[in-house]
Amino acid sequence: MKEEGERKIRSDKKVDVKPTLSIELKNSLYTFSYLCNEPVKDVAEKLCLDGAVSKVVIDDICKWFRRSYQYNNVIAVGDADRPKLKINYSSQTSKVTIRFKREDYDLICNLAHALDLTPTSTAALLIRVSLRNIEFMQQYCTKHLMDLSNERKKKIDVFLNELWGLIKK
């Protein structure tokens, strides 16, 4: 029974996930979100959700699957004999806050189950892999950033090329 004065919990309450990232990765994420004119938590959320159902990203990380993972009518087969993925952090780390809807959090949980990691680590892994994947970022920009000005698009292009090491800083 609810006590009097206790607030009702929203049925669509979002779930907080605070992945730990290296300072360099966090800086990249902040710069990218600034260039996209969007809050960091929104950009991180989009990267995670798009990455979790993206063929290119899943192809990248499926070598670490310890259990099978299903997305978009595709099953990536896992192998329980594989060692668990170890995430190495640099000396300086920091957290970002992402708020997922319940169904989106469940998707991340499914991926986390396949990877045998926590949902928080999975979110961090998705941000790391998504940002570094050229093909995925091209698809992401086409999907989400077409409304930006040409000048801004050019800046994003230069930033991503620097991030991928195609252009020397």
Partner: protein
């Protein structure tokens, strides 16, 4: 029907035995007899066959050797194929 007072089967048997004895013993004693000539022809035939067999084996040997050389020569055109470096699966990621 009778052959020299023998029935046909006995006559054939005697002829075969007689022929055999002529070939075996006749060749030893008489030079130039039919048996001796037959024996020499047979010996020459065997020697010839042996020689041709030997030649055939040698020819085949050479042929096989050539084939082996050809395979070696044609294989990757005499160049050593670079071994593809298989990337070792790493189960670590740096953030």
């Amino acid at each position: 029907m009778k052959f020299f007072a023998f029935d046909p089967i006995t006559a054939i048997a005697l002829a075969v035995i007689g022929g055999y004895l002529t070939l075996v013993f006749g060749a030893e004693s008489k030079e130039g007899s039919i048996a001796s000539v037959t024996k020499n022809i047979f010996k020459a035939g065997v020697t010839k066959l042996d020689e041709s067999m030997q030649n055939y084996i040698e020819e085949k040997d050479e042929e096989m050797l050539e084939k082996m050389k050809a395979v070696k020569r044609t294989g990757a055109r005499g160049e050593v194929k670079p071994i593809k470096k298989v990337e070792k699966e790493t189960y670590e990621i740096d953030m």
